[in-house]
């Protein structure tokens, strides 16, 4: 699904400039960075309630986070938005809760990241 469609579904707003042709198949939701890093074996969109610089740093390191959704209208500071723009990682905010955001995307056929268990 195109990122723009996801933004519409969650009644979201871009905090960074739009990047065309980002196609999202998988999503993962977490507030702890190591949990996020453990999720990112596939290209995905991240849903989080954490909005420090480390979220963007985590996305940079994972290389598989195509965009980040901040839930409950949480707003990262301008320097975090600048860093995300620099790294070409779109940031989106929504007034919805993490549960509602996940539910709506799941209902619209965005799949959970496949987890590998030992």
């Amino acid at each position: 699904m195109e990122l723009d469609n996801i933004v519409n579904i969650i009644d979201g707003q871009y905090l960074t400039k739009k990047i065309q042709n980002i196609n999202i198949q998988y999503a993962g939701a977490a507030d702890l960075m190591s949990d996020i890093l453990a999720l990112t074996d596939q290209p995905m969109i991240l849903i989080t309630g954490l909005c420090g610089i480390q979220v963007v740093r985590t996305a940079e390191m994972s290389g598989n986070i195509l965009a980040i959704i901040f839930v409950r209208n949480k707003l990262p500071t301008p320097n975090i938005i600048d860093e995300a723009e620099h790294l070409n990682i779109p940031l989106i905010k929504t007034k919805l809760s993490m549960f509602e955001t996940c539910g709506l995307l799941y209902e619209n056929n965005i799949k959970p990241v496949p987890l590998k268990y030992d």
């Binding site: 507030d31 702890l32 960075m33 190591s34 949990d35 890093l37 453990a38 990112t40 954490l50 420090g52 610089i53 480390q54 979220v55 740093r57 985590t58 940079e60 390191m61 994972s62 290389g63 598989n64």
Partner: protein
Amino acid sequence: MTDSDYVRVKFPIEKDFSTAGNASSGLKKLLKAVGIPPEIMRKIAVASFEAEINAIAHANGGEMDVLISPNHITVIVKDNGPGIPDIKLAMTPGYSTASEEVRNMGFGAGMGLPNIKKNVDELKIDTELGVGTTLTFTVYLNKKNEST
């Protein structure tokens, strides 16, 4: 093989959560510049980021020492922290001794060492209580060279 086939770079790790990830970010840029394949780059970046966070969350920062050879990439992250009393326990997913302050910043999920292990081919942990911890991990560029 000659010395010129190797690249060795050191990155300082400062005790500052606002700059946590700078060493790993520098390393990832270096790996990209020397043409390391994306999936290998991702594994090294995730492992080095976790190790860097550990050095900041549990010690006073430290140093990241990186060796890039034609066959493998080895990263050594050394800190002068309190050491790990029980490595087996520390390797258990979800186990963390991180402070509440550290957790509030999004660290301390108890997935750091398991995430490192998952992404590398070899992991060695040298730790001494009251002295510090050194993590050495290696990712092979070509699995056929693993035993050579």
